[in-house]
Symmetry: none
Subunit: 200 residues, 4 copies
Amino acid sequence: MKAENKHSKIISAATKVFAKKGFFTARISDIAKEAKVADGTIYLYFNNKYDILLSVFEEEVGKIVENTEKLLSLEDDPRKQLEIFAIQHLLAMKKNRHLAEVIQIELRQTHKIIKEYRDNNFSNYTGIIAEIIRNGQKSGIYRSDIKPDLAKRAFFGALDEISRVWNASLETNYSVKEIATQILSIFLAGIQVDPSNLPE
Amino acid sequence: MKAENKHSKIISAATKVFAKKGFFTARISDIAKEAKVADGTIYLYFNNKYDILLSVFEEEVGKIVENTEKLLSLEDDPRKQLEIFAIQHLLAMKKNRHLAEVIQIELRQTHKIIKEYRDNNFSNYTGIIAEIIRNGQKSGIYRSDIKPDLAKRAFFGALDEISRVWNASLETNYSVKEIATQILSIFLAGIQVDPSNLPE
Amino acid sequence: MKAENKHSKIISAATKVFAKKGFFTARISDIAKEAKVADGTIYLYFNNKYDILLSVFEEEVGKIVENTEKLLSLEDDPRKQLEIFAIQHLLAMKKNRHLAEVIQIELRQTHKIIKEYRDNNFSNYTGIIAEIIRNGQKSGIYRSDIKPDLAKRAFFGALDEISRVWNASLETNYSVKEIATQILSIFLAGIQVDPSNLPE
Amino acid sequence: MKAENKHSKIISAATKVFAKKGFFTARISDIAKEAKVADGTIYLYFNNKYDILLSVFEEEVGKIVENTEKLLSLEDDPRKQLEIFAIQHLLAMKKNRHLAEVIQIELRQTHKIIKEYRDNNFSNYTGIIAEIIRNGQKSGIYRSDIKPDLAKRAFFGALDEISRVWNASLETNYSVKEIATQILSIFLAGIQVDPSNLPE
DNA sequence: CATGAATGAGGGTTCATTCAT
DNA sequence: GATGAATGAACCCTCATTCAT
């Protein structure tokens, strides 16, 4: 229990520090101070600085994926599903600004390892979008000339870019609901066979 | 001329090295070796490592902006203009993979300074999209309920995410033309007043 | 008794670990693991890492000295006595390779403290040789021009160097008996008044 | 020339510092300070701390071997040759106390690498003794029942042990000449066929 | 202008030691 | 007494930057 506690305290501190200073600029002692543990304590739970980054990603992102998939399973309409994904993503990013930056900034990082890791892992996440689109195509709701793997990137990229600058400018301008509505209205109109046919 | 030469040799070397190793992992000596100059020589042209990054961005991205704006001035149809932007962006990213990574990876990095810098600078670039949309709205081609500053992010984000994974998976799968066509077909259908009204 | 048990378990574990990894490279946790106690337990029996080293030396070497002196007291012939010392030393080193290395490697180490310590302690051990030689000189068996304190170092050094490389090369080549015979045949011939006068 | 200078300044400083504090206790900054260079400068000439140790050994010991072999080539009498070796060894150790300790203390150290290294390298050195003995056996001067590879260890060990405690106790008591004479008188008497047959 | 040897601050990591349980 | 999680001082090494040549 105590160890559990400390492990997540470090993860959470690291998420905050990485987001604020960036992986390379962040010092282990920053994380330690933020987590209110000694520097050395961190190495009881992680092998090295890089391992902390991976763990932050693994653990925190895992939660989002899990949560999103649960919600999606309760809904059949591919249009509603796309909306769920968008809202979940934006909510998660808004709720955990620190994490948002870690995902967006750090995991676009250099190391091959991380790239592969992300590719294996984020595929799961963005793959959800492609799956929704494919389902929509089967039910004749989405245009069959849309390539799911291109569209998923476009959709994810749109959401990602918007939450990227969240802190800076969009902070007070738009709510998650407004943004999701705009993006959805564009994409649904863009990929539906009959754009006038909107979900109720 | 010789100095000019050396300056751009360093910029070009830095672009390559930053893309390959990342800003923080890249060493000045790596850039010097790649540029075939002495380490110290770099400091005759740049104040510090960080200054090199800014310069890479400034100079290389400047070219793209300039080029894109020139092409756009020759075309009036907002739908064609959006297509021009998409194609120009994808072509530029494809042509200069190194630069593409520098923009995508490094400039999402760390320091507030860079963020502000980017915001001032990239605003110009993404601002082009917003301008196109506003024009289209005036001429009644684009839906008036679309928020240009949200749509510009969505559009840029879509393009950006697609070129991000370029190297990895899309390498051989799709041509720039195909990708641009897909994205355009989604976005135009998404934001036009009359989706069936496509440019010839 | 239980404490006694733990104390010697640690000593024995430390001897093994020091020999294998060297004093500085050995970690307290290595010793703890080898002794099957917790790291902290070690500090119930020893003041610090260095104290363990001293104790290893003190206890283990003490046994050898004691044993050797007992055997020597049963023999009067200085030539036989030298043989006893040589055989006892080689046997002890062969029997306890770990200890052998600790003595040879670690106690030539660093700190003045240890040097003085060794000087005080090993003097007892090598002093045995000097004493044997002095006795032999009194009985007219050993040459009177031999300086006992030089000869003792030469004799001990010869034995020490031979057991140093024991593991490596001499492992299978020579038995303790053979080696002792060779060394003795050289030294006795070297320091006797009448080299042809060998003990039966 | 300048680099040469700095390289040897570091070697020499390291020899001194290693001898004084021991390899593990010595800090890089100690060596740097002693050599009057910056810490980082050391890494322009050596890969790591351990590499410095190897280099100290390699360079300094190399000189001794070279010098000793040159002198030996000028002398045919195996008894004189043994004397030359003893005197050269003792002189070298006396002249360079620091080096003496490095050889004796540090190179008995742990790492397999160093052991192998030493075995390969010191074999050359102690091998000289074995060779002298073999030659003496061929010319009928040394006893044929002596095993050269045991005798070489005994002889080297005797010299080594004596110079080991040099600083401590023998400092003022005996000169190199006296010591060499004693050791030689023991060993020559010990290994000659006719002990009374001494070189003039 | 150009060089690259030299600098030295900075930080990741280890591990002897402590102490609450 | 015994534990082992936690501590934090210590140190090797890197690399951006400088400057004498």
